[in-house]
């Protein structure tokens, strides 16, 4: 298993390299530079800035310098936030993004699985239809629409929760962003769970178990749950990735200081180092998460384990 994990990690290095290279050159092809803005700078000052950040060197040399620095673990300076380098900013945003992402992940998985089980057990009855409707809405209503509505209802009209910000980091500040981020994934997970559980409950060995007179709860918990979880687990890897990238919007609307926000800001501001840093960071994170999911999958499914 360890060798497998290592191999997986190693095989992502070329991908990472290609992605970095592509991003690096795409960014430089982009019109507009980091020092263009509402106030144009005199050419002398622009030259000074370019020299300061090595931007006056030939592109290929800049690229080699960058790659060299990355290999040394140095992600370089940031243009928009000059008092912090790229690594410092990413590390400063990491706890927020991880807290938000993990909470949303756990919430989505638990709520999705429970809703899926409920849907399967009460198949084609009123609770199933109500859940189904709610889930469909979660699936089709975009999160940039849900967020302002929830802010308005729970933050202003009912005044139960803060409208935005991180505040003192207490749970109250997390509730709305986590719900908004998790909603579409609750929907997806519960759909997967419901479908898989219905199928398992119809399978022969469950019928056998039932004919032996085992209670329904016992059948579900002991026998049906684990196999029914397989499709859910295979969705968790992608879901973790979507939660991370989904945090871009949620962090913007709620004004949270996570990493997702940096990305768009950095791209718009031509903050080359910051864009590349964010991409590298996200890729590594997603690869690791996918790996964890794979290992979990292997643990659940003996067939994969023995392969």
């Amino acid at each position: 298993m360890l060798a497998y994990a290592l191999k997986r990690l190693l095989s992502t290095i070329p991908v990472l390299w290609i992605a970095i290279t592509a991003c690096f050159f795409i960014l430089r092809l982009a019109p507009g530079g980091p020092f263009d803005g509402e106030r144009p700078l005199p050419q002398a000052i622009k030259d000074n800035l370019a020299a300061h950040y090595n931007l006056d060197k030939p592109l290929i040399e800049q690229y080699l310098i960058y790659i060299g620095n990355v290999l040394k673990g140095d992600l370089g300076p940031s243009f928009i936030n000059q008092d912090f380098n790229v690594a410092e900013q990413l590390l400063s945003g990491l706890p927020y993004t991880l807290t938000l992402g993990t909470s949303a992940f756990v919430f989505a998985v638990l709520a999705g699985i429970l809703a899926g089980i409920a849907g399967a057990l009460y198949k084609n009855s009123l609770p199933d239809y109500l859940l189904g409707l709610f889930i469909l809405l979660g699936l089709v209503v975009p999160n940039f629409l849900v967020a302002p509505i929830l802010q308005l209802v729970f933050g202003l009209q009912l005044d139960w929760l803060p409208v935005g910000g991180w505040g003192d980091g207490s749970i109250a500040f997390l509730v709305l962003p986590v719900v908004v981020l998790a909603l579409p994934h609750i929907a997806r997970i519960s759909r997967l769970m419901r479908g898989a559980l219905i199928e398992v409950l119809n399978s022969n060995y469950i019928r056998t178990a039932r004919s032996k007179g085992l209670s329904r709860t016992r059948i579900v918990v002991r026998h049906a749950l684990k196999p029914a979880l397989m499709p859910v687990v295979s969705y968790l890897g992608p879901a973790a990735g979507f939660l991370l990238t989904g945090s871009v919007i949620v962090e913007t609307i709620f004004g949270l200081p996570g990493i997702g926000r940096y990305f768009i800001n950095a791209a718009l501001n031509r903050d080359y180092g910051m864009v590349l840093g964010t991409v590298i960071f996200y890729m590594v994170l997603i690869v690791v998460l996918n790996l964890i999911v794979d290992i979990l999958y292997a643990w659940l499914d003996p067939r994969v384990r023995t392969q």
Binding site: G32, R39, N81, Q82, D83, S92, G255
Partner: protein, 528 residues
Amino acid sequence: MKIIQQAAACTLALMLYGAISATAWAATINIHNGADPTSLDPHKVSGDWENRIVGDIFEGLVTEDPNAEAIPGQAASWTVSDDGLVYTFTLRDGIQWTDGTPVTANDFVFAFQRLMDPATAASYAYLQYPIKNAEGINAGDITDIASLGAKAIDDTTLEITLEQPTPYFIGALTHYTAFPLPKHVVEEKGEEWVKIGNIATNGPYKPTEWVPGSHVTTVKNDGHYDAANITIDGAKFFVLEDESAALKRYRAGEFDILTDFPTDQYDWMQENLPGEARVAPFAGLYYYVVNNTKAPFDNPDVRKALSMSINREVIGPQILGTGEIPAYSWVPPGMANYGDPVEVDWKDMSYGDKVAMAKELLTGAGFNADNPLKLQLRYNTNENHKRIAIAIAAMWKPVGIEVELYNTETKVHYEELQNNIVDVGRAGWLADYNDADNFLNLLKSDIQYNYGRYSNSEFDALLNKANETTDLTARSELLREAEAIALNESASIPIYYYLSRNVVSPKVEGFVDNAFDIHRTRWLTLSE
């Protein structure tokens, strides 16, 4: 290893953050500040959101009063030589950095030299170009940095020599490019001097915490000479670029001041939060650049037709909803040493007559229904810019002008404006200092901000002559003459004069609307 240390430092900072926010501050003001600041280093910043923080924690020779007018700051007094070239400042007694070191004239000299040093790459250095040799040093033509016209006579006396008499120089010294720096800290820590923990400041507040993407916290500096009169104990400047979300948080009591608001909500706020939304004239001009070097826009009649057929009267009240004042002049009203600006001669015609005349002008230039004038109108991403562009395109349509709207993000927009590849493009200018020359310069030949490449030697000569004139009345006459020429040739299309938009909680007192939209925390008070 380095990353691990950073992670540890980061965790520590978070723990401190928790500890700090657990203790409630008696009077901490929460300010919605827009974008993330670039730096706390006055030489590296360029935006009004950065000015709000940097201007609270540092203080120059002169500073702004609640009306944003210059009053003595670190300097107790100054004298100006008769030829207007040499300023001699005497610093206050007992001023000190937050680490206890005295602020001396050398700190100012050091800061000015660093500002002009090409290696610093300070983006706003040009604002202090009136200082002798500044431009030469900054451009790398003069390598002896010590030749800069800023000298410390002794610890408390500073002498600044200018290139030419500059009536607005004292005003320019309120700008953050003129702030002193703690020479001892910068020399000891190098680039790291500006980090929380290293930084020493001399303003009414000192920074204590910065969570990138979230907020900067400042705390009152008890060593400041005016500390006894300052009632707000600290400020939190929040990063949040979504104005609608910011307004919601304001309504929930999470912010005390919003430094902008979505114009659509203005009516609603006047009804539901009476008196809290403030709109005030702002020394700035919103205008459309017309490419003077490209046919057919090199024809003044075509430019005039474009300008005349814009119904400016509906833009403020109807399109924006905050009542921006229509602009028929190039210099906004109320600039110092200027008087009333010159206005276009067709200002008072009815809109119907303007449209008729615009059509005639276009016909004269060879355009008609079969051969309509086609142009691309570019604007940078922003709800209001978009709305105005849509409205103006619709106003031009009946005159027989076909408009293609083209929206790009800010960086691209300005690069294209500078590269002169735009037919008609949106631009704006906020005064750097209180003088008409700051606006007229935008139309001078060979000036980088002259996006439309308007070029008229008579206009240039008048501006140059005005710069050498010390008599303020004669100077303003020259500037007005120049403005009349530019307007007559429709060098560019002024649209409206900016308004500042703030939302101020009734808990905050001492917030005075002013033409530069500068409101230092030291003048405010906060009640429960």
